[in-house]
Amino acid sequence: MTAALIAALVTGAALFGVGLYGALSQTNLVMIMMGVELILAGALVNLAAFWRFLHPGAYAGQMFVLIVMTVMALEMAVGFGVATARFRAKGSVEMEEAGELKG
């Protein structure tokens, strides 16, 4: 039984690692968002696994998963809003060309 939990957590960790790599290595805003989505997906897997295998009576765990899904949708909405604005203004959503956004 613990094996199932570990399998899920390992998946979560791997998704987190892949997502982190993607978010850091990609030059394009949309691709970076994909990396962030994968990181959040890793979190989702972990949360669901914790709920199922450790506290199936506490529905706040499932609630948490719902909230993370909401955050994913939020990230998409805001990200695409920003991407559209950037693209309109600069014709590019490449990070290499967003130098003026540096502090």
């Binding site: 559209t84 014709g91 590019s92 959503v93 060309e97």
Partner: protein
């Protein structure tokens, strides 16, 4: 036995499927269903199913004689059809480059019914053949030609450099003849042609630096990108992307030499919009084209790349490498110094900077999509190339490759044409309105000869013209409703349009009830008005004629003031809005009006050769064709027509298409074009 049999031996299963295919004949009509209807053919009534795309069609129906350009397009269409496929020729002459017809018949509905029967037998018994040959035609063959990315008018058969700017020419695939379609996507419908035809030359090029061309795969010496096969770039579809560079360039070249960028002869990365001096070395900036001439040839590209890798600003070939040069300009802003030596980085700002901006401010990839000359849903023979920005039309180029008006009247041959021959030619010019043009020729000749038409004959001819208007409007209605997805009404409209051909007054009176039911049904269609409101708005001006002008509130009608029509009780129909909705309403009203006029005329007759004897003189006539007033001026000498000038309503409409569809959604744009009821045949080129 059919020419387009599928390769393979017969088996039980194949016998079965051949029989099924004989039952499910999906047809695509050349030049178009409206021509077929004008010739009195009701294809759906003969059991042929409509096909949305040539891929889904199994029969190519040729209705009437095809001009050479359309035969080529038809051959392309035929190549796109999946085997087993067949050609049915109805009253057609030469078909080449199409393969011979599998079934030949005359132009009439009974002959069509019989032809369909024969075709079913031929397919059931000959859909498969062990030794089925492929189809090949010169129009399908392609070759590689070389063009200058900056000067599209420079086209060579061999590689080399541009005589104007010295840039290396880039290869592209072209048709062996005509050169309409620069790539494998054909011009007639935009679909790809049969796989397995002679593959084009596979040269590899950099998507960003078109001047880099290699015979083998590899990476670009300038930016390190993987080279792509040149063919891939030229295609539609995905390629919008890879096309980026080339499209951008073409657009730029299209803007002509007016482009004034100034660059430093020593520091190509310095690009300014205005003359001035270089901020690095103080030299006077030169216009870029001039700089290009002095610049090192593309052969130095490898050196440039190695220097770039070394982290220095490399003297890149400024002519072709405009994007890279601009990228460096961008880097001079300073914030991005760490990428300065990064030779693989491509600036999207730079790449998209020169792309034309659409009014919504989002520079997208623009793709050119051909619609026509044989696109189902547009008049056959109308060739429309839409530049799509997403699904918005950014620009349109409309052509009428079948335009026959000039040829029909111009051929005076020094000695002039006999009057009867002239009238026959004019009548044959536009298969969609033969009666009106014959009548036009007759009136002009009569005017020139000073002959007074007898009133009974004039009445009969007016009746015949109204019958033609009825058939033409019904066929237009069928095309238009089909485009809007109103299949039920469209089907009835096709049948009625076809049965108008050659009908006498009694027959039309018999059909009148069905026509009125159809018109009422269309008027009552829910949401149709909302659907069409505001699409394809054209303001009335002096040049617009016919239903399009009347839908814009101008009673421009050649029948106004005509005593014959006055006696029949004619009043022009107008609507104020000038959009597709108004055009539909005007034509529906005119269908009912024509029914009334035909009944009032009582007798229909368009026969009779103008008998003008050996008269001389000049004459002019105006006849309201189904598409608007056509004007003809003739000079006659001793019974022969020595000069003629023709002015047709569709000519103006063709000119307006560009502004009509600009910035429309694709579906709206096609609806707007279809609402014009343009006849490409009568266009005066």
């Amino acid at each position: 036995m059919i020419h387009g049999a599928r390769r393979g031996a017969w088996s039980g299963l194949r016998r079965l499927t051949a029989r099924a295919q004989a039952q499910m004949l999906a047809a695509i009509v050349v030049p178009g269903p409206e021509v077929a209807a004008a010739l009195g053919l009701d294809l759906a009534g003969a059991g042929l199913l409509p096909a949305a795309s040539p891929r889904h069609a199994s029969v190519l129906v040729v209705a009437g004689a095809l001009p050479a350009q359309l035969r080529e397009a038809a051959a392309v269409l035929y190549a796109q059809m999946m085997r087993p496929r067949a050609v049915m020729a109805l009253g057609a002459g030469t078909l080449a480059p199409l393969p011979g017809a599998d079934v030949v018949a005359e132009l009439s509905q009974p002959a069509l019914l019989d032809a369909v029967r024969r075709l079913r037998r031929a397919i059931a018994g000959g859909a498969f053949r062990r030794d089925a040959a492929g189809f090949d035609a010169p129009v399908l063959r392609s070759r590689t030609e070389y063009v200058c990315p900056m000067h599209p008018e420079v086209v060579r058969d061999e590689p080399g450099s541009c005589p104007k700017c010295g840039m290396t020419l880039v290869p592209r695939e072209a048709q062996d003849e005509g050169g309409h379609a620069p790539d494998a996507v054909d011009a007639s419908t935009g679909m790809e042609m049969e796989a397995g035809r002679g593959g084009g030359e596979s040269a590899y090029t950099c998507p960003m630096h078109p001047e880099v061309v290699r015979d083998e795969p590899g990476s670009c010496p300038k930016c390190g990108m993987t080279l792509v096969p040149r063919e891939a770039q030229d295609e539609g579809g995905h390629a919008p992307d890879a096309v980026d560079a080339s499209t951008g360039m073409e657009m730029e070249a299209g803007r002509g030499g007016g482009e004034s960028a100034y660059t430093c002869p020593m520091h190509p990365e310095v690009v300014r919009d205005e003359p001035g001096s270089c901020p690095k070395c103080g030299m006077t900036l030169v216009p870029r084209a001039a700089a290009a001439k002095d610049a090192p040839e593309a052969g130095h590209a490898a050196d440039a790349a190695s220097e770039a890798a070394g982290g220095r600003h490399a003297p890149m070939d400024p002519s072709g490498a405009e994007h890279s040069a601009a990228a460096h300009t961008g880097m001079d802003h300073g914030a991005m110094d760490h990428v300065a030596g990064h030779s693989t980085f491509m600036s999207m700002v730079a790449v998209t900077r020169d792309l034309p901006r659409s009014p919504d401010g989002l520079p997208m990839d623009w793709i050119e999509v051909p619609f026509g000359p044989l696109f189902p849903g547009l008049p056959g023979g109308l060739s429309l190339v839409l530049t799509l920005d997403g699904d918005t039309v950014a620009g349109a180029a409309a052509q009428a490759p079948v335009a026959a008006a000039a040829a029909a009247v111009a051929d005076a041959g020094g000695r002039g044409l006999p009057a009867a021959e002239f009238a026959r030619r004019l009548g044959a010019m536009d298969p969609l309105a033969p009666v009106a043009y014959r009548l036009l020729a007759r009136r002009a000749l009569e005017c020139a000869a000073g002959v007074e038409p007898d009133s009974r004959g004039a009445r009969a001819r007016a009746g015949a013209a109204e019958r033609e208007r009825l058939a033409s409007h019904l066929a237009w209605l069928a095309v238009f409703l089909g485009r809007l997805g109103l299949e039920v009404h469209a089907r009835r409209s096709w049948g009625l349009a076809a049965s108008m051909r050659g009908a006498d007054a009694a027959r039309i009176a018999g059909l009148a009830a069905a026509v009125r039911v159809l018109v009422r049904g269309v008027r009552r269609t829910p949401l149709l008005e909302t659907r069409l409101a505001g699409i394809g708005r054209l303001a009335a001006d002096g040049r617009l004629r016919g239903p399009v002008a009347r839908a814009a509130g101008v009673a421009a009608d050649g029948r106004v003031g005509d005593p014959v029509y006055g006696a029949l009780g004619f009043e022009p129909v107008t609507r104020p809005d000038g959009d597709a909705r108004a055009r539909l309403a005007v034509r529906l009203d005119e269908i009912e009006q024509s029914l009334r006029l035909v009944r009032a005329a009582g007798v229909l007759d368009d026969s009779g050769v103008p008998g003008i004897g050996a008269a001389s003189g000049t004459g002019e006539a105006l006849v309201e064709t189904p598409r608007g007033g056509a004007r003809l001026a003739v000079s006659v000498e001793r019974g022969r027509v020595t000069a003629a000038r023709l002015d047709t309503p569709s000519t103006v409409l063709l000119e307006r298409i560009g502004s009509l569809v600009a910035q429309c959604e694709l579906g709206d744009a096609l609806t707007a074009v279809a609402s014009l009821d343009l006849s490409p045949w009568e266009v005066v080129a």
